[in-house]
Amino acid sequence: QTVTVALNADIRSTNPGVNRDDNTDAVVLHMVEGLVGYRENGSVAPLLAEKVDVSPDGRTYTFTLRKGVKFHNGAELTADDVLWSWNRYMDPKTDWRCRSEFDGRSGLKVEKAEAPDAATFVMTLDRPSALFLDSLARTDCGMTAVLHRDSVAADGSWDKPIGTGPFRFGEWRRGEYVTVTRFDDYSSPPGDRPDGLVGAKRTALAEVKFLVVPDASTVKAALVSGAVDLAQVLDSDVPELSASKSAAVGLYPSATKHTFLFQTRDPLLGNVKLRQAIAASIDIPELVAAVSNGHGKANNSAVALTSAYYGDVQRKAYAYDPEKAKQLLAEAGYKGEPIRIIANKRVHVPSFNAAVIAQAMMQAVGINAEIEVLEWATQLDRYNKGNYQMMSFSYSARLDPALSYEQFSGPKDRQPRKVWDDPAAQDLIEKASVISDEAERRKLFDQLHELQLETTPLIIFANGQEAWAHTKRLEGADPWEGKPRLWGARVATN
């Protein structure tokens, strides 16, 4: 029996980490796996590797492969395949989007990769890094998946994924659907239940069809009618679907960050007092409740609620205080100059709604806030150029806090898209990237959070809280980080 999952857009390719977006990753990661993968709490665990040994100098990583892992075409997984895959990724012709993370252009460089025997794969780095395994596990890098060499055609072009995942590639009708079928020879990593992208991954479903349904209202109707078994739904649809006989709704946290960015180089918003005034004018818990239909939790930290590093310091938040906001405005010498909030209307991100509410709250303390709705591509362009005053923007998930901070911090001169241009913060982030010790890192992140609250280069107001609905016949299909995971699911027989 086929289980149907609705995707809001077609996948871009089946080529891991090359031409991808979130939907693509979700589908592809059902078919391919890397040496290591994320756990639920954002830490990295071995996947195709049985274990990972790091040399004391932190520069040599030795991966020991699990035994008995087979590719979809029946071939046994060997270190040779890992090496071949790695070399393919590092070949500029492949266009792997994460190549720059490993070739020294962004700092880290993999100097050597070898397969001394069939079960061992060794990589040597030019420097120690706390984030190396993280980068390998990144879903947008396609988990640096190990592929069988038959995945590419004779001329080196991409054909189809022959991986080691719980599902094998079925059929892709562009613009319509992709199907994957169960891989019966799958050998699951240890565990009794799915844990992020690792843990138990043995599947009960014979076939999964990822159906492209772009319109949210259609998705809702399809769920109610049973034509679709699993789909992300709008927050506003949650009450209705929960009440429906045939469907159930779950809320799943993710590490995406919903934020208001400030352009600190703006003549007006360059004034920290004004930024603090705005922060004080917004009743963040109320705003979060409103944009998430009452389900979301506020979080002002770049460390996600789900992260292992989320602690008491991270709980510290902006205080809603209109009087203080007014006072800060006066101190900042604000005279009613218009402040324009850029927002977009993509589904599943609260950009527009958050902007509307923030605008109302800001207006309440006398800030002349305006909204400019842009289409996403335009907004992204403005973001990349740093061309805005204030922007309602959502960041993709970065599970490691250091990476999460890195997303918005950096020198504006070289990268105009960066929001927080503060050498002190930069320093802390750099340290967190090198040091592997957890306690040390925690301290760094605490410092970063305090600093961020104080300078307010942006207001992070919540992490993602995604509503997914499934038909009652489908059980155990709990999405993670915005991606459906069908391996844990089964069809209820009633």
Binding site: N19, R97, R99, S100, G175, A221, E375, L380, D381, R398
Partner: protein, 314 residues
């Protein structure tokens, strides 16, 4: 006739050329960068630069245009930025999906709306007329994204007569395919009916005041014959032009309906490409749509003298 048609098609060349330049310039005026859209907010500057180089976006616009236009002249519309597929087959495939729906919908709408308009005109100011005009107006004022959803909820969910999502192509299973396109066709047809009724009514009113209608009546012809044989054809001109317009408009513009009913058609391809700034696909789509437009209008113009022999096609 054939020579004339060929000449007209050749006359489309300037239209297409204007189109090519306009599209190229316009979509590059619109802010947005396909490379950064593809890489998302996680992109780092190095890979962005890589991608831009590979896509040829690092060259200046004039150079890009010359390269693209040269390829087009050689019949090569390029590759899609997002999917890497060749543009021409992609556009053609999607076009047939949309065309089927649009043609069926417009044909049904014309077959119903034009006679309805004629009858409304014939019984001007009667209750029937008011009812028809009222219906037309209401149909005109329901957006397709609403109407489509209503149909979906009614026939898909309430009555469970028709499938809610999905699409089956005609080559796979014609009967199932029919079921799947029923609602989109109905949505479009209801929507387009409004304006056609009104246009047909207006031009029929005009014609019914002419002498030869009286003469036809003097022959003892039934009102029906007077309406259909004499009034209809003479009144059909403007409606006919409008049908051509509607047809052309829809081919590029049924994105909303395709989105609601999950149909992989040209409209959705175009809108998706616009949002993804997939330049080669946008350019290819629009060139193709423009070409179809020219052909549709050619047919409209060629047929015009059939309705009004005083007008010559040339």
């Amino acid at each position: 006739m054939l020579r004339f048609a060929i000449r007209r098609i050749l006359m489309a060349v300037p239209t297409l050329a204007i189109m090519a330049v306009a599209v190229f310039v316009l979509i590059r005026l619109i802010p947005g960068d396909p490379a950064s859209l593809m890489l998302g907010d996680l992109a780092d500057p190095a890979s962005l630069a890589d991608l831009r180089e590979r896509l040829g976006l690092d060259k200046d616009i004039a150079t890009q245009f010359v390269i693209w236009f040269g390829n087009v002249l050689r019949g090569d519309l390029g590759l899609s930025i997002t999917s890497g597929q060749p543009v021409l087959p992609l556009v053609l495939e999607r076009f047939w999906v949309s065309a089927r729906i649009v043609f069926i919908a417009v044909a049904i709408a014309s077959l119903i709306a034009v006679p309805a308009g004629v009858i409304a005109a014939w019984r001007q100011n009667s209750a029937l007329d008011l009812a028809l005009v009222g219906t037309a107006t209401v149909l005109l004022s329901i957006p397709t994204f609403w109407l489509g959803l209503l149909l979906l909820l009614l026939f898909g969910l309430k009555l469970e007569w028709l499938p809610v999502v999905g699409y089956v192509s005609f080559s796979d299973n014609p009967t199932a395919a029919l079921l799947y396109i029923l609602m989109p066709v109905a949505t479009l047809f209801l929507h387009e009916m409004g304006v056609l009724i009104r246009m047909s009514r207006a031009s029929t009113l005009e014609v019914l005041r002419l002498d030869y209608i009286t003469h036809a009546r003097a022959k003892g012809l039934s009102e029906r014959a007077v309406l259909w044989r004499h009034a209809f054809k003479n009144a059909f001109g403007p409606t006919w032009t409008l049908i051509g317009l509607v047809l052309g408009n829809l081919l590029g513009g049924i994105a909303v309906v395709e989105t609601v009913f999950t149909i992989p058609g040209l409209g959705r391809l175009l809108v998706d490409s616009i949002f993804a700034r997939d330049y080669p696909v946008i350019q290819g789509c629009l060139l193709f749509v423009a070409f179809v437009y020219v052909v549709v209008n050619l047919v409209v113009d060629l047929l015009y003298p059939v309705f009004d022999p005083r007008v010559t096609a040339e």
